[in-house]
Symmetry: D2
Subunit: 159 residues, 4 copies
């Protein structure tokens, strides 16, 4: 059983014409998983709807608490990419679980996006990796504490 | 020959992860027209990349000048929806041409958008309507000076 | 009020893995119209699910009867492209209505398709054209009896 | 380095209006990988364009030869789903490589498809799994020789 926690980020952004702006909407993950023929074997909980630049230490504690609370030992977390590495670091102390954070550079609701590939990649990663905390982005797996987002290259890399 | 002028608006917004924001990008119209098997019979000129809340009287004069300059007597204009009615009004004095303004409530680059339907609808409208200035939105044709955007209902209606 | 009759064709084809094949599915038109913010002002009736190469004279009589029966004087018909010109010809005798046939070269369910543009284009055509029978394809309006599908160029043209 | 071999199947089917039919086209994988920000770290070779019901023993020998020839020790194979289990079985004798077969129930070119999720899932699987031959479908990893396609349920399961 995979437990999915959604915290926001680009992946679930929606365009709101009224504000000429975007906001984080309902997570598209259930719909994307259904399109991939995955209808069970997971639970999903919406925790936050935050752009990760706005994540606070309290938010990270809330995420850590939610990870610890679930009986599932495989946990997938959607998260904004800007501070994903910080949140991963904050979860390193949790033992006995495989925890994978992922997100996207383009909203899942765009015609062209990395969101669905990243979801599939992360789904396999959380199913196959041993206990620990990881980031799964741009087709690679990184260990928490040894990863950073390269803003210029717009990708994650080993740190 | 249809002359297309792009001025910006939601229809051509792109998501920029670097800014956690949507900005107006290259117009997607040539790509959308190609997908519809339309490869010639039109010319396209990018005039502005403005959210229509930021349109000024000078911008509207620039648009009017561009409309007057083209030898084509059928002119299609992409425009943000918020002040489309004002720009339509400002073009009413131009004689001898069929001028149709349209845009979209969701960017053309989204998986679900009104953009492509609106483009097709406006393409027929500019081909069939007699001289005058019109707005073509939510599947209806409105005459300039007698139309407004109903913000709450998120649609255009007769005024 | 626009009355929409769906008769099949490429536009509504679905891929069926079980048959390694395609079949005509439920019409996607209501969903596409909703995405374009069109929720009323029309009625829709599924008449047939035929590839137009398989249309018979009896099918064409059925379509003509359905057109005559509706009280709406603006009728849109989805139809396979291969024999759309024949069906248009068969409807020429119906007076007092604006009848527009359209379809698509690629199913509406494909990522890249002419279907949505064609729907928007035809929606405006049926709203603006005077009484008569027309085909609206590849961004042009053709009169029934003076149009054919150019198989090599994959587009409709004046005959 | 991941070596990708494409052999056909539903995943790369294109709709051909001329034949009123779906045929296997150029593989969409390079475009999908680019959308996922993956531009290097892999090589791709188009081997076949076959619906897997038409795969022969000679085809399977060709695939096995191509797998053995590559210096890469991580090989991803796109394949039709109907006989994917047979081909996986035929590759079991190849030692020293992680070989993952995957495909899709809906063409990657459809608006709604499992193709992109499956690609991401398989990309992680081939990166993380130990030597051996596997099928990665519907969000699960199966070992060759212990898997079959459940036609009725339209999914792969342990055999």
């Amino acid at each position: 059983m995979i437990h999915v926690l959604t915290t926001g980020g680009t992946i679930d952004k929606i365009y709101f014409d009224a504000n000429s702006d975007f906001e984080i909407g309902d997570s598209l993950l259930p719909e994307l998983l259904a399109e991939a023929n995955i209808h069970d074997g997971y639970s999903l909980r919406e925790l936050l709807r935050k752009d990760s630049l706005e994540m606070t230490d309290e938010d990270r504690e809330m995420i850590a608490a939610a990870v610890s609370q679930t009986s599932a030992n495989r946990v997938l977390i959607t998260h904004g990419t800007d501070t994903m590495a910080e949140t991963a670091q904050a979860l390193k102390s949790i033992a006995g679980k495989t925890i994978v954070l992922f997100g996207a550079m383009q909203p899942a609701r765009m015609r062209r996006s990395d969101a669905v590939f990243n979801l599939g990649f992360a789904w396999a990663a959380v199913s196959l990796l041993p206990e620990g905390v990881y980031i799964a982005m741009n087709g690679e797996v990184f260990e928490a504490g040894a990863v950073r987002k390269n803003l210029k290259a717009k990708r994650f890399e080993r740190a």
